[in-house]
Chain length 465, copies 2
């Protein structure tokens, strides 16, 4: 079947839920990042797993690429249609299917966003903890192995997806995992699809682990003289076993941007924004222990935010820091970097990144989920080639340093097209080759989000199946 015939067949399957309107194609060819717009040939809006399976079977017959689309918030061009094909937009598969409070799980469709899920859960006493900042779709969050501010306590999507329903590259429907809390029954297929960026199949349903809303929550902010003191406080806090719910670093430039954007007046020095979850007594104890460690590192102006509205304001400021930073340089675009390093090397990695930024003369606030060793520089670009090249050099140096000191090229944003060039360095030729072999086994015709994550398939190499 030709791709044209496949699109005709998809039109017959989906009616006006297969769109070829230019505005639709463009909207699904953009990313939140600096990559050029790369539209698909069509956008499909399926309403059921059966429709997704039928769609994939049609595309498989035509060797037509199939690219999942959630909320479009990924940062490395994950959903760009680099080889054309059909974007599968899950906005019509966004329902909460079931909440099972006794088992502390929810079943959702992939297009549901994390904020929509937590709104629905509000009355149950439960919540879904993974919080990447953006109001991403849960299917997309699973596919990129997202994490964010709360991963330090509750883990990433790797830890919070119990089971999946997946449409495979041949259009079969499989279920991975169960709602039991653990299993030793064979390969961890759930874990294989989480973080696979849609290259092995399309997630059509997720069973997510929920957490009980803590009895008490308390947040706090404190200022440090310099980056080193702030990061040392983080490392010591983590090592002391305080079960931090959030521990976020913002450098002086980030704080300045937040101040301007949110009409706040934090001193213009590095800060930690932290949160504690637990019983009343537990939270008080954690906060006291953290205050003690922070004070040892010269923290000043420790302010507790007890009331929900104060806390919400704080985390809104943190979540909007990216927009605040963008707004700090009107008209700028940004390269958002993302590395994760061993905690023992965090201070040195952040300091070296700061030195690189200074040496390049760039505006690039640094902030991150430092309890996990994960940080970002937001490299602001005015559009000149010189600045772009300088920013790319800083970004590359961040990744190379992270790999050198035992970390990873991406803590939470994923590979997409932006980090593909680092995969061999991180995993070795044999390790990355193994990913290619897994992809070839599960997607022999290379139709699932092709051009991403694995090594390019060698032309003329016999198809492995």
């Amino acid at each position: 079947m030709s791709v044209t015939a496949a699109l005709d067949a998809l039109s017959a399957l989906l009616g006006d839920r297969l769109s070829r309107a230019k505005a639709d194609l463009d909207a699904h060819g953009r990313s939140e990042s600096h990559f050029p717009t790369t539209p698909p040939d069509a956008v499909a809006y399926p309403e059921s797993t059966d429709e997704v399976a039928a769609l994939v079977r049609i595309c498989a017959a035509a060797r037509c690429p199939v690219i999942g689309w959630g909320a479009g918030t990924s940062l490395e061009g994950h959903a760009l249609a680099v080889r054309g094909g059909v974007a599968v937009d899950f906005s019509r598969m966004a329902a909460l299917l079931e909440v099972a409070p006794e088992d502390m799980v929810a079943r959702v469709q992939p297009g549901m966003t994390r904020e929509a899920l937590n709104t629905e859960l509000r009355a149950t006493g439960l919540f879904f903890p993974v919080d990447p900042g953006a109001n991403a779709s849960l299917g997309g969050m699973a596919s990129t192995r997202a994490s964010g501010t709360t991963a330090v306590r509750y883990g990433t999507m790797r830890d919070n997806v119990a089971a999946l329903e997946v449409v495979t590259a041949s259009g079969e429907v499989i279920r991975t995992g169960t709602r039991a809390r653990k299993s030793s029954a064979g390969y961890d297929l759930t874990g294989l699809f989480v973080g696979a960026e849609g290259t092995l199949g399309l997630i059509t349903e997720l069973t997510l682990r929920l957490q009980g809303q803590p009895e008490a929550i308390s947040a706090a902010v404190c200022a440090f003289a310099d980056i080193g003191a702030a990061v040392d406080a983080v490392v010591e806090t983590m090592q002391s076993g305080v079960p931090m719910a959030r521990i976020e670093f913002l450098d002086a430039a980030s704080v300045a941007a937040v101040n301007a954007h949110a009409k706040a007046d934090f001193p213009r020095t590095p800060h930690l924004f932290v949160e504690f979850h637990g019983s009343e007594a537990g939270v008080a104890e954690q906060a006291a222990r953290f205050a003690e460690i922070a004070a040892e590192h010269g923290a000043r102006g420790l302010e507790r935010a007890h009331r929900p509205e104060e806390r919400n304001r704080l985390w809104q400021m943190r979540h909007h820091a990216y927009w605040a930073i963008l707004a700090s340089r009107p008209g700028a675009r940004a390269i958002v970097t993302d590395v994760c390093v061993p905690l023992s090397r965090l201070a040195e990695a952040v300091a070296a990144t700061q030195a690189d930024i200074d040496a390049a003369g760039l505006a690039a606030p640094i902030l991150g989920h430092v309890g996990d060793g994960n940080f970002h520089a937001i490299l602001l670009l005015d559009g000149s080639d010189a600045e772009r090249r300088a920013a790319e050099r800083v970004s590359r140096a961040m990744v190379e340093r992270a790999l050198e000191i035992g970390g990873t090229a991406t803590g939470e944003h994923g590979i997409g097209i932006g980090k593909l060039g680092y995969m061999e360095a991180e995993h070795g030729a044999a390790g990355w080759g193994m990913m290619g072999a897994l992809k070839a086994a599960l997607d022999p015709h290379d139709i699932m989000n092709p051009g991403k994550l694995v090594p390019p398939r060698q032309a003329g190499r016999p198809n492995p199946r």
Copy 2:
């Protein structure tokens, strides 16, 4: 190359560290379970990753099976040489390679046991939490995705292995994962090898996540009128968010066996053995909350064990419960079952199992890691065919019920040869078939622990690579 030629080449490689002595073969053909002895053709004792890689290359050339061997404590016949071949005994690769306290990880060789690791860690203030009871090797624990009493708090091997070094089926050496706390860089190869039971490659090094030794630890025991009351107390405790470090169920028959074996005098009713980890205040708060919930379910005689020697005695009794149960019927062998169900269905699953045991007239104490919904019946057998058949029926009913109510055929023991017959029912033909495709991609000649975990390779089907 013929298998005979391969064994000659291995002798040349390893000298007298390739053994063909009958006693050695028999020792590596036995399991802790009821399966018949199935010896390999030879036992290799490599001393380095390079030797393992060379060994696998020789075996690959001869299509000779390669089976990893740790401490021989697995319960489903994982390491039985069902197609002959070479058992790779890791007892000479049992070193602690590095402790990195700041990153809270340790690098170990696969033959090191968990008790040896924790002995070495004692002075560091850190410990490795996964505790399956047996003093298993850490490579074996990773390969079976082991868990045990502390998984309810600290997770299973899935959660506690940060990175691996693996010798692949072609004798290449790969490294998966990093020592950063999280990563989004491609497929989770670490997660794929954890639980793969040696069917995809041999683990030659592990980077394990460590935990800080809690400031305070307290254990407790209490008795319940019946199974239902005990299990209901567990479910409510878990839902209330008390961060239990251990919460173990023993039925009346298990308690009787423990009493006889350890000269204890617990009342002969169902019990919970529990443990709390945290700060002094935190442990007191957790214990009070648990006591309250337990009391609501009629718990009696709640006894706290504060001193280390009291606690150690308690957990030694729990860990030796299997031997106590075996000893309760002199000369008996046992089928140890293992299912894991959603917490919401735990009470009904345990009750139905008890009813099946009673109806069959078997002696079969029930105990388990009930905070995870994971429980075992120890089916005692006198050797008669009738009893074996009855036990097999009970065992099968346990698994079928677990699958029916959304659980898994094995919570922690794994598949080996004992649970192979349930894989298709648990994962569906397509899901289990996907496991077969992954295996074929990474081990095209089917030499890594063949005959386990995946569907039998179809004779005459062209080799997928």
